[in-house]
């Protein structure tokens, strides 16, 4: 596992955390540090253990093995209601029989504040999530986006060290989700609290996070910042999950220095930097290369390039408005490739069956086993 921890101070330390449900192992030894003030995402397909891990941090699940400490304190004997964490649930879990203000102020019940102090803090929390003046509304009459904001205000009013978010945006429609992504990010910077987000949406994770842990089968497959994760995925599985990746069969051999020679049927021979080989993979074992759709381009009539060029036929295309996704077949390559092109002014959209040239760059290749 590649772990470029650029964090100042860990607020959550996970060490070999395992979780069994009967014979089923949901977490297989999770070791990671989450930094103070970081926006951290747990990303993976359903059933990968990301929610179990979040609930373990919250204290709703006890780990079968391993250690979890928050802010330097071991959490094995600290129940959920005494942990310095608060959670935004996937269903928001808004108390339907209470008003918005009573929902938001629920966590203050135990701190014996004066009535004025209580309502001042509730007002502040509502203001923070853009729901100022909604305090007296009935909670069950709110829209989805408003419920989500109430859940946020309710969790943040206790000023937790860590805010845990369990797929908080998955129930919202696309437009609202995109707005909330930006707002959540802004809110996190503003309050400076560590956010741990569980999501299955790779785009959401890339947009919002400082660092992302990609999980498969109860293990962290890769923990990196979004750019490294996207450009240098450590395995085919990660590459396939994050964005779109073309895979081509290839052979590679190590050269002197930091160079690796790769032979790709259809594209030819290329020299790549050792940095493009995932840690732990011997170039000799490499069986395929990955290349992102946007790192290749269609060369339109008369265009010249200093990059490598290959011949291809447009087999299919999908027009997205801002982008066109071409499915092309290169001479001598079995698998079709996806290439994305921005629809710039004056740039044509090619028809199916068009013969064209495709430019590519060895610097964007990644080797996989």
């Amino acid at each position: 596992m590649k772990d470029t921890t650029g964090i100042d101070r860990p607020i959550i330390a996970l060490q070999g955390v395992e979780k069994y449900y009967g014979d089923y192992q949901a977490l297989r030894g999770i070791t990671a540090d989450i930094g103070a003030g970081e926006f951290f995402s747990l990303l993976g397909p359903s059933g990968c253990g990301k929610t179990t891990l979040l609930r373990t941090i919250a204290g709703f699940e006890a780990p079968s093995a391993g250690r979890l400490s928050i802010d330097g304190r071991d959490m094995s004997r600290v129940p959920a209601n005494r942990r310095p964490t608060n959670m935004v649930f996937q269903s928001y879990a808004i108390f339907p029989h209470l008003s918005v203000a009573e929902n938001v102020g629920f966590g203050l019940r135990r701190s014996a504040l004066s009535k004025e102090e209580n309502s001042r803090r509730v007002g502040e929390a509502l203001e923070m999530v853009g729901l100022g003046g909604y305090g007296s509304r009935a909670a069950h009459a709110l829209s989805g986006g408003q419920r989500q904001r109430v859940a946020l205000a309710r969790a943040l009013i206790l000023k937790p060290k860590v805010l845990l978010l369990d797929e908080p945006l998955s129930a919202l429609d696309r437009k609202l989700r995109e707005t909330m992504q930006m707002e959540l990010r802004k809110l996190q910077r503003q309050v400076g609290i560590t956010f741990v987000l569980v999501t299955h949406d790779q785009e959401e994770a890339l947009i919002m996070s400082d660092r992302i842990a990609v999980m498969f089968d109860g293990q962290i497959a890769q923990l990196d910042d979004p750019q490294t994760l996207y450009r240098r995925p450590v395995s085919r599985q990660v590459a396939d999950f994050i964005g779109v990746m073309n895979f081509l069969p290839a052979q590679a051999e190590a050269q002197e220095g930091r160079q690796v020679a790769v032979t790709i049927p259809g594209l030819g021979r290329a020299e790549i930097d050792a940095e493009q080989v995932p840690g732990g993979l011997h170039p000799g074992q490499a069986a395929s290369v990955g290349i992102r759709p946007e790192t290749m381009s269609i060369l339109f009539a008369g265009e010249e390039t200093e990059r490598r060029v290959a011949q291809a036929t447009v087999e299919d295309l999908a027009y997205y408005g801002d982008m066109t996704y071409y499915t092309v077949r290169m001479r001598g390559v079995d698998a079709p490739l996806t290439i994305s092109m921005k629809n710039l002014v004056g740039r044509p959209v090619l028809a199916r069956g068009t013969e064209t040239r495709v430019a590519w760059d060895a610097r964007s290749l990644v080797l996989f086993a």
Partner: protein, 265 residues
């Protein structure tokens, strides 16, 4: 059209005897037959002058309240377990709890009597409560199941997450939300126990419940109009109680914005 006639006949057959109760309760004559003789409230006045009847009413009220409370407490536990947890044998256990719903009451009554006599336990109000709890619990569970099912499992966890203990989050969140179901269960169990005859007849010992007392009075023809008057009051009380129970349940569901998930009516 044929179906409509059938439905109307069916309803007449079902409710006509009940409609006869108030008619003869106000009829000025001791013989239950048409033509009617005239209007009187004499039979209702006589009701107030029978000490044995008052004892039976009190006895019935104590039994009905106890049965309702115990059956509802057990129902809360069963419904919460059934909707919240997965455990081995859950289906079988729930089936056993619901079984008295379809078991002939006479069998329940006779078996309970045999067991109690074998154990050498004295019959009395508490043995009737025992039998009534048995037949009320399935109704209570049916009502409360639907109340618990419409609750989001995360609600209690959210309260715990915000600093409450398991018990206080149950008290502050779950209890108020299922309260309409609890009240509905109390009222329906109360009504079932109040009206129940067979089990009470077998297990009541020397202090009869109201239905058992009523049955005893039927042997004296001159008392039949009084029985009619009493029956009229009982039907009225039952209808009012059931209506209140359903009203409370629906209002509770509407207030918390939940979808109406059925209940008994």
């Amino acid at each position: 059209m044929g179906l409509r006639i059938y439905a109307v006949l069916y309803l007449i057959f079902l409710y006509a005897p009940i409609a006869l109760l108030p008619i003869f309760a106000f009829n000025d004559g001791t013989i239950i037959a048409f033509p009617l003789r005239g209007f009187t409230t004499e039979w209702f006045r006589q009701l107030t002058e029978i000490p044995a009847l008052h004892g039976a009413v009190l006895n019935s009220l104590i039994i009905a309240v106890s049965s309702a409370v115990i059956a509802t407490l057990l129902g809360i536990c069963a419904a919460r377990a059934a909707t919240r947890f997965v455990f081995p044998g859950k289906k079988g256990i729930m089936g056993l709890i619901m079984l008295p719903l379809v078991l002939p009451e006479i069998i329940v009554a006779v078996s309970l009597l045999v067991v109690l006599l074998q154990l050498g336990l004295p019959l009395g109000a508490w043995t009737v409560v025992l039998g009534h709890v048995l037949i009320c619990v399935p109704f209570s569970v049916a009502i409360l199941n639907s109340a618990f099912q419409s609750l989001d499992v995360s609600l209690e966890e959210a309260a715990i997450d915000l600093g409450e203990t398991r018990w206080s989050s149950f008290r502050l969140i779950t209890l108020p939300l299922v309260m309409p179901g609890i009240i509905s269960s109390l009222l329906i169990s109360f009504t079932i126990s109040l009206d129940e005859f067979i089990i009470a007849f077998f297990l009541t010992g020397t202090d009869p419940t109201l239905p058992v007392y009523l049955w005893g009075q039927l042997r004296f023809p001159q008392k039949i109009p009084v029985v009619m008057a009493l029956g009229t009051l009982l039907v009225l009380a039952s209808v009012i109680l059931l209506a209140v129970a359903e009203y409370v349940r629906r209002r509770g569901a509407a207030r918390t914005g939940q979808r109406d998930t059925g209940g008994l009516m």
